[in-house]
Amino acid sequence: MTRFIVRRLIQSVLLLWVVMTLSFILIQLAPGGPDAVYANSKNIGPAEIAAIRKARGLDDPLYAQYFRWMGQTLSLDFGLSYSYARRPVIDVIWAKAGPTFQLGLMSYLLALLGIPLGVYAAKHRGKFGDNFIRIFTVIFTAVPHWWLGLIIITVLASTIRWFPQGQGSDNPWDWFIHIIIPALLLATGGMVAFTRFVRSETIEVLSQDYVRTADAKGLTNREVQNRHVLRNSLLPVVTLMGAFLPLLLSGAALTETIFNWPGMGQLFITATNARDYSVILAILIIGTFLTIVGTFMADIAYGWVDPRIRYD
């Protein structure tokens, strides 16, 4: 187990290094070069550009720039934001992390509802409930969740003249009615994935010999379900829990924009509209970092709950 953790840790660090290197190349490729990334503004003159070039060391040889950039990025120094009153990029992002965390966590919890749905569908395979759940998953695969958001806003606005915009106040009820619709929509992708995955895993396990044996031994249905079926069918779900993270982050950009949710996704879009390159690249790197950490933890958790997994 320790060996496996160390191995996965080395892989994750390597992965992060590759992604960061690619980001550095991306900055060099940006139209106007790194100057544009750090100083994108029409009002900026040659004097300011020279000052920025000096401050960020853009006149040094490329390899020196690369190592310094790596060091700065690892210490979370992404430079100054141009569109947010020249505050440090990390402060701008940090201020938006809370709302995104709330929305993400809420969506994650809602998406996990797919697990009982999948178990239910597998147990009632081919019956009404299963077919109903199946239609539900097919529809939510095909419909863009952000368009549903637009529809909900349109319908709510024209009927009860209310649409959930922004984060709501500190009042728990007000907070809840503002977060629930965006969180539900953001959760649909994951919920569908969990439902499908759990359903097929459970059906697979139900046909295993040890389940038949357990049945034959005369165990009650409940005992067979809980001890023999669910225990095995729910294990692989852990891996999917890590894979859902990038989906959540990408979805947040759309959901937060539509519902005016003051989070990192919305920040990413407004920063992109303002061509605030240092902010958008920082969000890309942080988002990738979070995903790598999430996948790493999911893999470790999988190895821990399922001792059959022997990685070597």
């Binding site: 892989q11 390597l14 992965l15 590759v18 992604v19 690619l22 991306l26 490729l29 940006a30 139209p31 395979r125 081919g126 097919v138 529809i139 695969t141 095909a142 419909v143 863009p144 952000w146 368009w147 637009l150 529809i151 806003i153 349109t154 606005a157 024209s158 097929s200 059906i203 697979e204 894979a243 990038p246 982050l249 990408s250 979805g251 950009a253 759309l254 924009t257 990413f268 879009i269 992109t272 509209n273 061509r275 958008i280 690249l281 969000i283 890309l284 988002g287 990738t288 995903t291 790598i292 996948t295």
Partner: protein, 306 residues
Amino acid sequence: MSELTTIGTSPAIVVRRKSQSRGFFATGFTRFLKDKISITAMVIFVLIALSAIFAPFISKTLIGYSYEELDLTNLLAPPGTPGHILGTDDLGRDNLVRLLYGGQVSLTVGFLVALISGIIGTFLGVIAGYYGKWIDDVVNGAYQIVANVPFLFLLIILSVFFKPNVITLALAFALLGWPGTTRQIRGSVLSLRSRDYVDAARVMGGSDARIMWVHLIPNLVSTVLVIAGFDVVGAILGESSLSFLGYGISVPIPSWGNMLSDSQSHFQDAPWLVYFPGIMIFITVLCVYLVADGLRDAFDPRLKNK
């Protein structure tokens, strides 16, 4: 399968029959054609595709407006207005005409992505599964990189740096989309390469290239076809999200995504601008999904209800 069958007791009447085994693909497609849902989806999809392909003809002769023509007497006209069956947008452009043209963008991107990522994904999946060892590690490494980057963020950055057209957009999607194909193809190759006929081919002196091309890839065609279907689904949804955010196809050319983007400022006075493009995305994606799903069931009936 016997070639000759005698009917009755008289040996004089001999009926020559063809082999009853019609081959893997014929059987699969026959099974597909018998599935009502798949066929309905297929027909609707073909209709949408035809309407997109013939969008210039339909809009010119049947509707009488081009996609950028402004009808200034009919701004934000609701559906049912004479001359504008599905209404107009805030500049008086005909909604139906723009929907037809939007289909061109979505379907072109969808199919290009499926084609490119199918080729890349199959190639990498086959060599990774067949050779294993360091090639497998390299492919897996590339897979990990792509799978861990929030793809929408990266696409937006790329789109800001390099203004995309339909082709480059499809290329970007494909370069981020191949890992799914590679994973599944690699898995299939792992089980195929230990089959007896592969061993036999190798014993007879078949080269690696020949084994992969003649013995592995033909067995993967149905898998690739099904994955390609799901790739089209992902690409159409992705293109519309990107265009909706304003970083896909640029504005004068209508796409369902950028039409929805424009509709946002009129969701109270012209809700039909919100409804129709989304309905088009939904129906198109649903049909492609059902066709891909039907193909999978037809080629591998064991998967049905799984």
